[in-house]
Symmetry: C2
Subunit: 425 residues, 2 copies
Amino acid sequence: MNNPIDSRTKGLPHSTADFSLAEIGARRWNVLKEDLPLPVALLRQSALERNRRWMRDFLDRTGAKHAPHGKTHMSPELFGLQMSDGAWGITLATVQQVRVARQAGIDRILLANEIVSARDIAYILDELRGHSSFEFYCLADSLEGVGRLAAAAASAPAGRPLRILIELGYRGGRTGCRSIESALGVARAVKAAEPHLLLCGVEGFEGLYQYLPVSEGVPQVQRLLMEIAGLAQRIDEAGLFGVDEIVLSAGGSAFYDLVAEAFGRTRLSRKVSIVLRNGCYLTHDVGTCEHFFAALLERSSHARGTGVRLENALEVWGYVLSVPERGRAILGAGRRDFGHDLGNPKPLKQFRPGQTQMPSEASGHEIVAINDQHAHMTFPANADVQVGDMIALGISHPCTTFDKWRLLHVVDDSYTVVHAVRTCF
Amino acid sequence: MNNPIDSRTKGLPHSTADFSLAEIGARRWNVLKEDLPLPVALLRQSALERNRRWMRDFLDRTGAKHAPHGKTHMSPELFGLQMSDGAWGITLATVQQVRVARQAGIDRILLANEIVSARDIAYILDELRGHSSFEFYCLADSLEGVGRLAAAAASAPAGRPLRILIELGYRGGRTGCRSIESALGVARAVKAAEPHLLLCGVEGFEGLYQYLPVSEGVPQVQRLLMEIAGLAQRIDEAGLFGVDEIVLSAGGSAFYDLVAEAFGRTRLSRKVSIVLRNGCYLTHDVGTCEHFFAALLERSSHARGTGVRLENALEVWGYVLSVPERGRAILGAGRRDFGHDLGNPKPLKQFRPGQTQMPSEASGHEIVAINDQHAHMTFPANADVQVGDMIALGISHPCTTFDKWRLLHVVDDSYTVVHAVRTCF
């Protein structure tokens, strides 16, 4: 965790020797002075802070807890930021990700996935055994899966249980039981595996509905959330929960307002903890997340009541390498530098080093094609784009941009690097 | 370069402490014994070696030189392998990549790109000044670009020139001059900047034509290659080349046979060095590269004459986490683990730990959807797929799979790890 930053890391000046992360702010590198080679990935600090405030406000208003999905950024420093904002825990997708979070000191982890490998389970049990502060939740959606967890925990007891959330899915979806009856069967199997397993709640993932038109997606999400709540009531009535406070969890980055709302109405025999898992709020974007957020604001008075709005914090900068045709420029940044799974990036700003003080808005510029290391940008006839100009790209889908970088610079509003965060993908 | 491997690295056992790369083979980790957590990325050593032999044979038969594109894998260890196979140099796309290769001891680098930033150019000049063995080529496609290179080199002379290849492009393509006349203008500007710049050859990138149907792509590629050769003749006649051996370079992973053939016919006043840049041959794939290779074999008698064939060396393994519906399994590997820009991965093998000795062929299995951390796999009614099975995925486009991993294991035919390679993206 305290490994020095490798001087070869993308985004660092060429002359850097290996150094520790804490030193970076003292160097006063400025993007507009070309202190950093491009392409480079930047997190705008002021936007990050406003986004953190938004999420805290939203959670205060809804009473929901937050276990932001750490897979978004996989950054120990950003885990720390999120925990300091009062996060209940960190959500993760794989046991390697758990390992990263454990080394970053995260004590409550929700693995929003099934675990099937004996060595994966053994690692978790070892962590539980060795660290009394560690609390671990994972999902179960099959008798086979519960059998694996129970057998591993029984053969090498950790002294404390693996906390289980039953996962409810839907036909054509991802993981998760396909019926209430099968889910009840899995819940009974978990109950039967006490004290090694402990049934703590019910979970689902509504996020795949984000690919439907909003008007179709929302009713599907609401139906799934109702089914999750209904399943929790059945499990509650059957006396299968092993805890005083029952976890109901769902929530990708598109519909978390609906999760807070639906689960907020759910009444069980014990207290309900609503755990939202949206992770993209921290940086937001100028693509899908922006689109989702507009719909969320329309739906949710809690969201509208907050004093700030989510805004884009993540930019990838690249040089104009060539303007080979009228209205067409080639940038030195490509799919190695930004995600493209939910659309091409958007040119946000243009800057001509040495000529102006601050970037101007890129208006009418568009990324029309991308390659591994290049982006093809068109621009209007009245725009002045020259070789050597710097272009700031906004992206769609933060997750797949974070994983292109081992280090992202945190910059102030004048684009001076004040800090940096590492990623551990 | 000798930094220890971070124990958090994806693909390493959970209990590993930081360690040096050289130790990995001694641990005798075996994938089929579940010594490694999944997802994991594997390079099959026997396939790598056959692919290396294929490329050596092909180069021997055509007389072309090879500067494999290092952006494919960005692995110091694989750079070393390629140089030991006799590569003329390594091709790269950005100056950060050059930095990685320089630290790996690569002395001849072809930056198949324009450089526009003063600090990028200064770094290259510093390297030239400090290391007499270093030889550096980059591209020029504009007077503005040449001006930047010349000004930087004149103000801080390196004692040796920046070696320049004129880049010829085409309308709707990427970088590169759009006409012979403009390219001649750029060539004259390079000549005028002697001794700081040295005009060494002509270059182009035909690879974007790979997205056309083969029957349309091939004539376009041949036309571009003829134009590059024609430009070289014009520059030669004008006496602008500053070297005794003129470099003609092109070649992505689809059409390098055509490059060798077209440039092999080119006659100039001095000796011609044909430099191919294809990088994906090393691992090959089961998608686009396989498709390109079939067409290449049909076209090229040199290719057919070699004793071996390229074969897929790169596999990403994931567990079956859930079989929630008949004929549908969810795998714990997703777009964080493999590229998807040129198609979804293909299930190649299935293995049930503890039940069988070796993986069986996955027949009829198909990846129908992917998410960040999951793949949705369908399989035939007669296939037996269970929770906990391991699935080996073949991929399409090695570049965008390499960049999902900081470490890839090299395995023997029994899936025992014999070595590993790091990446520096």
